[in-house]
């Protein structure tokens, strides 16, 4: 392709990417470097149906003047990134010095909101992504072997979990696993423990969320694998049959190598999705046991009416960095293979 043609071909995509991806990221990065002006406080008298009271309040006019002068607020550099609600360097440092054993330090470590979210997000991603790839592959193989007549309806049923809105799907399951719900009470009966609750224990909540994640994401992997299966060349398969390869050997030595690039693609997309896990935490009301990066951002934006934009922006940038770190190995590998094939 000529350079000029290529330029015009790519221009709309590039413009959209700059407008909707690059500019917002730059904007939240700038936001994360600033904090609000010191609020000038004055004493105000508040009267309500229950009586009058003197309270400290904010001098609204003085504050508005400050904001007009410098709308972004005070420059804070990277201090928001390293405060206790984010990377917490100071707390970690102090914890390291004061703790005598590793377990003591790890309890300090996992008590910090950012690392609490980190460990859940990583666990979720590391369990869900491989499971989704394996399950999706197995389902695709099974359905590919079905007769043409029933394929359509079965494919439809298989992709239902993906069609259901995440929030709806998780809410339905949430009610079912309630101590009074059908799954919850059955489990209580099975284990003969009336106090057993899927929602109360951290471990069980994590397992529930991960199971939900696999249930919800597998159809995506399935659909991509299924379409890729249609492109598997028949010649090598026939050759393998003549050589006496059984079904497993054909899959292992012909199908899987052919589908490898597709699996890498699914791994990338699925990892990016899983790092941003959010809806199931809300749907399952699991904030007490499981917090993810996206949940931290959400939580910063809801202290009744007050929103901590700077803090939310810092967490967003840290999430982007995290996604980058996790994807690097896969990307580097793909890049190298791309180079070799040239």
């Amino acid at each position: 392709m000529k350079h000029k043609t290529f330029f015009w071909f790519m221009l709309p995509t590039c413009v959209a990417m700059v407008l909707f991806i690059a500019i917002p990221i730059v904007s939240i990065f700038i936001q994360s470097l600033f904090i609000e002006h010191q609020k000038p406080s004055i004493e105000i008298e508040i009267c309500d149906p229950f009586g009058c009271k003197k309270e400290i309040g904010v001098d609204v006019e003085a504050y508005a003047a400050l904001n007009k002068e410098k709308p972004l607020g005070r420059f804070n550099g990277f201090k928001t990134y390293i405060d206790r609600n984010h990377l917490a360097f100071e707390e970690l440092n102090e914890g390291w010095r004061n703790s005598k054993t590793v377990s003591e330090f790890s309890s300090i470590f996992f008590n910090l909101p950012f690392y609490k979210a980190l460990i859940f997000t990583l666990t979720y991603t590391l369990f869900v992504t491989p499971s989704v790839i394996c399950l999706g592959f197995i389902i695709a193989l099974c359905i590919n072997a079905l007769s043409q007549k029933i394929k359509g309806p079965i494919i439809f049923v298989t992709i239902l979990p993906m069609i259901v809105t995440p929030l709806m799907g998780s809410l339905v399951l949430f009610w079912m696993i309630d101590a009074e719900g059908i799954i919850g009470s059955t489990i209580q009966d099975l284990f003969n423990d009336p106090y057993l609750s899927l929602k109360a224990s951290t471990k069980l909540t994590w397992i529930t969320l991960i199971t939900y994640g696999i249930w919800h994401h597998s159809p995506f992997a399935f659909i991509v694998f299924y379409s890729a299966l249609q492109t598997v060349p028949q010649d090598p398969i026939e050759a393998a049959i003549i050589d006496g390869a059984d079904r497993w050997q054909r899959i292992r030595h012909v199908v899987i190598p052919h589908l490898y690039p597709v699996a890498v693609f699914i791994a990338l997309i699925s990892m990016m999705d899983n790092i941003r896990v959010f809806e199931p935490i809300l749907g399952f009301s699991a904030e007490a046991s499981a917090q993810s990066f996206s949940w931290l951002i959400y939580n910063d934006l809801r202290n009744i009416e007050v929103m901590n934009f700077g803090s939310a922006a810092s967490t967003s940038i840290l999430t982007i960095i995290m996604v980058g770190i996790l994807l690097t190995p896969v990307l580097v590998k793909t890049w190298r293979e791309f180079g070799e094939s040239r």
């Binding site: 904090i35 609000e36 002006h37 010191q38 609020k39 406080s41 105000i44 008298e45 508040i46 009267c47 309500d48 149906p49 229950f50 009586g51 009271k53 309270e55 400290i56 309040g57 904010v58 609204v60 504050y63 508005a64 607020g73 005070r74 804070n76 928001t80 405060d83 206790r84 609600n85 707390e91 008590n111 909101p113 309630d178 101590a179 009074e180 009336p194 106090y195 057993l196 609750s197 929602k199 109360a200 951290t202 009301s285 699991a286 904030e287 007490a288 046991s289 917090q291 939580n299 910063d300 934006l301 809801r302 202290n303 009744i304 009416e305 007050v306 929103m307 901590n308 700077g310 803090s311």
Partner: protein
């Protein structure tokens, strides 16, 4: 069904009246768009306002339990998405600090002659909101179970614990106590109530420095945990609606719940035996204190600043009509404690009136209180789950609050 038919009846009546009182409301132009929380009393209130607006103005209302999180962004826009916001103690200060609500002294002077003075929420002498109902959290109990087990109506949380213990050991109820302990806003609200009951102060006087990591804070957390021990094991996921359902299923003998929910508990829906045995009591005290472990709330409306004067005027007229409507206050007397003149408190107002009489604290109207509330909602969870000590949970809350408050310029 009774409530529902009452609401429909009221709205039909209002609709008919609306046309006749059209001249009385005198709204001829402007558009009214209201953001409000979602519970029965507020629906009645906005229906009354809607009837007043009649066909003179464009009328829209958004009832959502997410109102708190929408308000700031919606009112910051210019023109604002909503012309009026129905909010409570907790919501007025943050909005005012950002300069998003307008003083309404002139409108009160012109159209608000029927308002009682106590309805006006003034800040430094300027009317910033008009209140129309009061709310609090108080005890509900099952009279039949208490009588059967010979338990007197509890007045303190210590007695609640004893009563819950008896109910459990008698085998009648597995999880006899319920309160909205859902991690986040609800749980933090329970802490606020209990901490004030122990006589705690959230901040060092005259500053925004947190002050909860003390003996009272520890006692508060321990009491919450003891109560949670008698609750459904899923308590950290239960909000007011969830515990209402548990109550109506007959699984709970004592609970702490909002006064504004009493209407839905005592309506004709559900098991009549449970409804008949559901009784209201004053909010409990704790730790030998005389002030109840509860906060008093008012619900009222505020007007958006970034909206035309015409819309503000129309909204004010419609909402003030409802805030002074004796018909509404009498017809819906079981839905709320209306602050409207001429309201005769019925048996369902018992909780709020008792709380006010016992000297309950209003929810603190401090600009940084919402940050504390937010920090409490996520940081005390680990203690309730038994994963850390009370001191650690309180220290974590203070640290999380400090981070947020520094960023917002309070510290």
């Amino acid at each position: 069904m009774k409530i529902f038919s009452k609401i429909t009846l009221t709205s039909i009546l209002m609709f008919i009246l609306g046309h006749t009182t059209y001249a009385a409301c005198g709204i001829t132009s402007g558009s009214i768009n209201i953001l409000a929380n979602d519970f029965p009393a507020l629906r009645t209130y906005t229906d009354t306002a809607k009837a007043c607006a009649g066909s003179g103005a464009d009328f829209k209302v958004n009832h959502t339990s997410e109102h708190n999180n929408l308000a700031m962004a919606a009112l910051s826009a210019n023109p604002a998405e909503y012309s009026a916001r129905i909010g409570a103690n907790s919501s007025i200060v943050p909005l005012m600090n950002e300069g998003l609500i307008r003083p309404m002294d002139d409108l009160v002077a012109k159209y608000g002659k029927d308002l009682q003075k106590s309805q006006l929420i003034t800040i430094d002498g300027k009317v910033m909101a008009v209140a129309f109902m009061a709310n609090t959290q108080h005890l509900y109990y099952r009279e039949d179970i208490l009588n059967e087990l010979g338990i007197p109506v509890p007045k303190t949380y210590e007695e609640v614990l004893a009563a819950a213990g008896k109910m459990r050991s008698s085998g009648k109820l597995l999880n006899p106590y319920a309160a909205a302990y859902k991690a986040g806003w609800n749980l933090a609200e329970e802490f606020v109530n209990m901490y004030l009951g122990y006589g705690g102060e959230f901040f060092k006087s005259g500053s925004a420095e947190p002050n909860i990591n003390n003996r009272k804070g520890v006692k508060t957390l321990r009491m919450l945990k003891k109560l949670a021990g008698y609750s459904n094991p899923d308590f950290l996921t239960h909000d007011s609606e969830a515990i209402k359902v548990e109550w109506e299923a007959g699984k709970v003998g004592i609970m702490t719940l909002w006064a504004s929910r009493s209407g839905t508990l005592l309506d004709d829906e559900g098991d009549p035996a449970i409804t008949a045995a559901t009784k209201l009591a004053a909010p409990a005290t704790v730790g030998g204190g005389s002030i109840p472990a509860a906060t008093l709330w008012w619900d009222g409306f505020m007007l958006a600043k970034n909206r035309s004067d015409k819309d503000a005027k129309a909204s004010f007229q419609a909402l003030v009509h409802a805030a002074t409507s004796k018909t509404m206050a009498n017809d819906a007397s079981d839905q709320a404690v209306w602050l409207v003149e001429g309201f005769k408190p019925g048996p369902k107002s018992l909780g709020v009136l008792a709380a006010a009489k016992m000297g309950a604290n209003p929810y603190p109207m401090l600009p940084h209180m919402s940050l504390m509330h937010g920090a409490l909602g996520s940081e005390i969870v680990d203690f309730l789950k038994g994963k850390e000590s009370a001191q650690q949970a309180l220290a974590d809350t203070e640290a999380a609050y400090r981070g947020k408050a520094k960023e917002k310029g309070f510290l």
